[in-house]
C-alpha cells in the first residue's frame, strides 16, 4: 500500500490511501463499513428440552435465506444476465440439498448444540473434505462461505436488516466484493465503494460502472483505517480515498464534483443529435466497451453503437475459456441493446499484459512483441473458432461486425479469414443459424499493417486504427517504461502520417476507417482526425458528449485547414504548442 505523503499542496485528510481507480467520478459521504467476515460462532450446550425449538429456528433461518437468495438471483438475472444468476443457483441448491436438514437436525439432536454451531460445523466439514479430495475445488469454497454467512445472519436475528441500515448516500468500505454483496449494494442508494482487495473484472466493478458509481479498489487496508460514520471523499478518477478531510480539501472536491455534474448535464442535450459538422459531414461516433453490462451507457451518452467491444474480460479471471454459448449470449445481448446501430466485436486481444488461464503461454522477454492476439488465435484455431462461431451465431440482427486485432500482414489476415470460413462450415454442419455475410474488419496497430493498408483493405469491409499500439510500435517505445514515455507523449507527426496514409489507402479501396484508440478521445486530436477524413471515432462512453460537441461546432473546412497546418510541423512539441491554444480558443468551456 502507498500512503500518499501529505505535502502542503496535496489534499489534507486524516488518512489518504491510493488504490486502483475502477469506476470514475467523485463521491462524498459517510463511511459504511461492511465486514465480509463470517459472524462469530460459539458452541452452546442445550438442554434436551431446547432441542425442538432450536430445530425450528434452524428451519426458519434456512427458509429465510432461501427467499433472500431467490430475490438476489432475480436481481442478478435482470442486471447481469445468466452467468451472475448461476452463482446463486449453486447457493440455492446447497440449501435445498435433501441431506442438509436431516444432517443438521441429527447433529443438533445428538449433541444438543445450537443451530449456529451445527451449521458452521457442517459447512466446515464439507469444505475441508472437498479440499482434501481435490485441489480444483479450492476456488469454490467461497460458495459455502457465502451460504454460511447468509444463514448465520438469519440465525443471529439480523433478519437481513444489515444492509437496510445503510444510510442513504453512504460510501461502502469493504474488504472485497462478494458477488452477492455487489448485487445487494446496487439496490441501495449508495454513492460509491472502496475495497481492500478485488480485481477490475469483479462483478461489483461492472455494476459500479454501469450505474455511474465511483469505485476504488486495492486500497489494501482501508477497512482498518476508517470507522463507520467517518466523512470520506472517494476519488474514482485518481483512485484515492480521503478519510476525514479538512474543510479546504472538502470544498475543493465539492466544487470539482459540481463541475463534473454540471458539465454532464450541459452536454446532455447533445444525446440525440448526430455527430455532424456545421457543413454537414457526419462522423460515426461510437463507444468502446469492456463489459456487456456497460451497454446501456452507449445510448445514455448518445453514442451510435459500439465501435469496439473488447472480449478479453470474457476470458480473464476464469479457469477455462468461456463456452461458445456463453459468448453467444453476451454478444447477442449487446447487439440487441445497440440496434439499429452496429456492434464491432474484436476477437480476443490476449497476451501482452492479459494472459488468461486457457492460453498456455510462458513468460516472454518482450510480451508486447511476442505471442499475442491474432498470433495466439492462429496457433490455437479451436479456441479462436469457438469465438468466431459465437459471433457469427449472435449476428441474427445483422448489426455485428468482426474486428481482427494485431494483424501484421496479408498472410496472417488470409489465414484468419480462412478460419472464419471454416467456422461457418462448422455451423452449417451443426445446423445452427448464423449470419454468413458478417462483415470483417482489421485493426491497424502494427506499422507493417499500416504500410500494407491498401492490400489489407481489398480483403475486408473496414479498418480500425488502434492508436495506442500503433504509436508504441511506430516509436519503438514501451508504454510501461517511464524513461521512454516522452516518445509517446502527444501527437507524434510520424504517427499522424501513418494514420493519414491508412485513411487514404482505405478510401481508395472504398473501405471506411475508424479510430478506436485513446487518440479518438483526445480532445486535442478530434479536429485533426475529422480533417484527415476519418469516418468513425470510438471512445469510452463517458467521452462521447465532449467529442460530439467539438464535431458539432466545427466545419470540415476548418478541420482540413488545421490538418494542413499541423502536418507541416516536425515534432510533437510543435504540434502541441500550436494545437493547445488553438483548441482552447475555439472550445473555451471544454478546455477550462
Amino acid at each position: 500500500m502507498r500512503v500518499a505523503s501529505v505535502k502542503p499542496s496535496e489534499p489534507a485528510a486524516a488518512v489518504t490511501l491510493r488504490g486502483v481507480p475502477a469506476s470514475p467520478g467523485i463521491a462524498i459521504g459517510r463511511v459504511f463499513l461492511y465486514s465480509e467476515k463470517a459472524p462469530v460462532v460459539e458452541r452452546e450446550q442445550l438442554s434436551a428440552a431446547e432441542v425442538p425449538r432450536e430445530i425450528e429456528r434452524l428451519r426458519q433461518a434456512v427458509q429465510q435465506a432461501q427467499q433472500e437468495i431467490e430475490h438476489d438471483q432475480a436481481i442478478a438475472q435482470e442486471q447481469a444476465g445468466d452467468a451472475a444468476a448461476q452463482i446463486f443457483e449453486v447457493h440455492h441448491l446447497i440449501l435445498d440439498d435433501p441431506d442438509l436438514l436431516p444432517r443438521l437436525e441429527k447433529e443438533i439432536t445428538t449433541h444438543a448444540v445450537n443451530a449456529d454451531f451445527a451449521f458452521h460445523h457442517l459447512m466446515r466439514e464439507y469444505v475441508s473434505q472437498l479440499l482434501k479430495q481435490s485441489s480444483f475445488f479450492s476456488h469454490r469454497d467461497t460458495d459455502f462461505q457465502d451460504v454460511e454467512r447468509r444463514v448465520l445472519r438469519h440465525l443471529q436475528g439480523d433478519q437481513g436488516a444489515y444492509l437496510n441500515k445503510l444510510a442513504t448516500g453512504a460510501i461502502v468500505v469493504t474488504e472485497d466484493l462478494a458477488p452477492s454483496l455487489a448485487v445487494l449494494l446496487n439496490r441501495h442508494k449508495i454513492r460509491g465503494f472502496a475495497t481492500d482487495f478485488g480485481g477490475l473484472t469483479s462483478h461489483g466493478v461492472i455494476l459500479a460502472r454501469s450505474n455511474g458509481l465511483p469505485a476504488v479498489l486495492g486500497l489494501r487496508e482501508i477497512t482498518k483505517r476508517c470507522k463507520p460514520g467517518d466523512r470520506a471523499i472517494l476519488d474514482g478518477d485518481e483512485g484515492l480515498i480521503l478519510i476525514n478531510p479538512d474543510d479546504a480539501t472538502l470544498s475543493r472536491y465539492q466544487k470539482r464534483q459540481a463541475r463534473q455534474l454540471e458539465a454532464r448535464s450541459r452536454l446532455g442535450h447533445l444525446r440525440d443529435l448526430p455527430a455532424r459538422t456545421r457543413d454537414g459531414r457526419d462522423i460515426e461516433l461510437a463507444a468502446n466497451l469492456e463489459f456487456a453490462d456497460e451497454v446501456k451507457l452507449v445510448r445514455e451518452n448518445g453514442a451510435q453503437g459500439v465501435g469496439l467491444f473488447r472480449t478479453e474480460y470474457l476470458y480473464l479471471g476464469r479457469a477455462e475459456a468461456p463456452s461458445e454459448d456463453l459468448q453467444y449470449e453476451t454478444y447477442h445481448r449487446i447487439a440487441q441493446e445497440a440496434r439499429p446501430h452496429p456492434v464491432i466485436i474484436r476477437t480476443m486481444d490476449l497476451g501482452g499484459d492479459k494472459v488468461p488461464a486457457c492460453v498456455k503461454s510462458g513468460p516472454e522477454p518482450n510480451p508486447f512483441l511476442g505471442w499475442r492476439a491474432i498470433r495466439i488465435c492462429l496457433d490455437q484455431p479451436e479456441l479462436f473458432k469457438e469465438q468466431l462461431r459465437a459471433i457469427l451465431r449472435a449476428n441474427v440482427l445483422g448489426n455485428i461486425k468482426i474486428l481482427l486485432p494485431m494483424i501484421a500482414g496479408v498472410d496472417e489476415l488470409d489465414r484468419a479469414l480462412a478460419l472464419i470460413e471454416q467456422a461457418k462450415r462448422e455451423l452449417v454442419k451443426a445446423r445452427k443459424p448464423f449470419e454468413p455475410d458478417t462483415e470483417v474488419g482489421v485493426m491497424i496497430e502494427v506499422p507493417a499493417a499500416a504500410m500494407m493498408a491498401d492490400q489489407i483493405a481489398e480483403r475486408v469491409s473496414f479498418l480500425s486504427i488502434g492508436t495506442n499500439d500503433l504509436t508504441q510500435y511506430a516509436m519503438a517505445a514501451d508504454r510501461g517504461n517511464a524513461r521512454v514515455a516522452h516518445l509517446l507523449m502527444g501527437l507524434q507527426p510520424a504517427v499522424l502520417r501513418l494514420i493519414q496514409q491508412v485513411i487514404n489507402a482505405a478510401h481508395q479501396r472504398g473501405v471506411w476507417v475508424g479510430v478506436c484508440g485513446e487518440m479518438a478521445a483526445d480532445q486535442l486530436a478530434t479536429l485533426l482526425l475529422v480533417g484527415m477524413e476519418i469516418d468513425e471515432l470510438s471512445v469510452n462512453p463517458i467521452e462521447v458528449p465532449k467529442i460530439k460537441k467539438i464535431i458539432r461546432n466545427t466545419t470540415f473546412q476548418e478541420a482540413r485547414e488545421l490538418v494542413q497546418q499541423v502536418m507541416a510541423f516536425s515534432t510533437a512539441r510543435e504540434i502541441h504548442d500550436y494545437l493547445k491554444p488553438y483548441m482552447r480558443h475555439r472550445f473555451k468551456d471544454l478546455f477550462a
Binding site: I94, L130, Q133, S323
Partner: protein, 88 residues
C-alpha cells in the same frame, strides 16, 4: 433399475456449476438417482453429495437410476455428460 457408465469429459470436472446442473436435472425426475465413483456412492439429487465425489476430468462414474421414469432420466443425465455440461 438402470445403470450406465459415463465419463467426466469437461476439463474442470464436476465442480459447482456442472454439479448444480446435474442435480437440477436429477430433481426433474421421480426416480432415485445415484452416482458411484470408485467405491463412493452419492445421492444424485444432493449437490453436496455430487460435489463430494470430487470427480475430476476423465473420471468414470456409474449412473444408477430407479423409478417409473428411469429411462428418460438416464437418457437426459447421460446427455449432460456427453455435452460436457456445456463447458470445454
Amino acid at each position: 433399475m438402470l445403470e450406465k457408465k459415463v465419463r467426466v469429459q469437461n476439463k474442470l470436472g464436476l465442480h459447482a456449476r456442472p454439479a448444480a446442473l446435474l442435480v437440477k436435472t436429477a430433481n426433474k425426475f421421480k426416480s432415485d438417482v445415484f452416482l458411484t465413483r470408485e467405491s463412493q456412492v452419492v445421492n444424485g439429487k444432493s449437490i453436496m453429495g455430487v460435489m463430494m465425489l470430487a470427480a475430476n476430468h476423465g473420471s468414470e462414474i456409474t449412473l444408477s437410476v430407479k423409478g417409473e421414469d428411469e429411462e428418460a432420466a438416464l437418457a437426459e443425465l447421460t446427455r449432460l455428460f456427453d455435452n460436457k455440461f456445456g463447458e470445454q
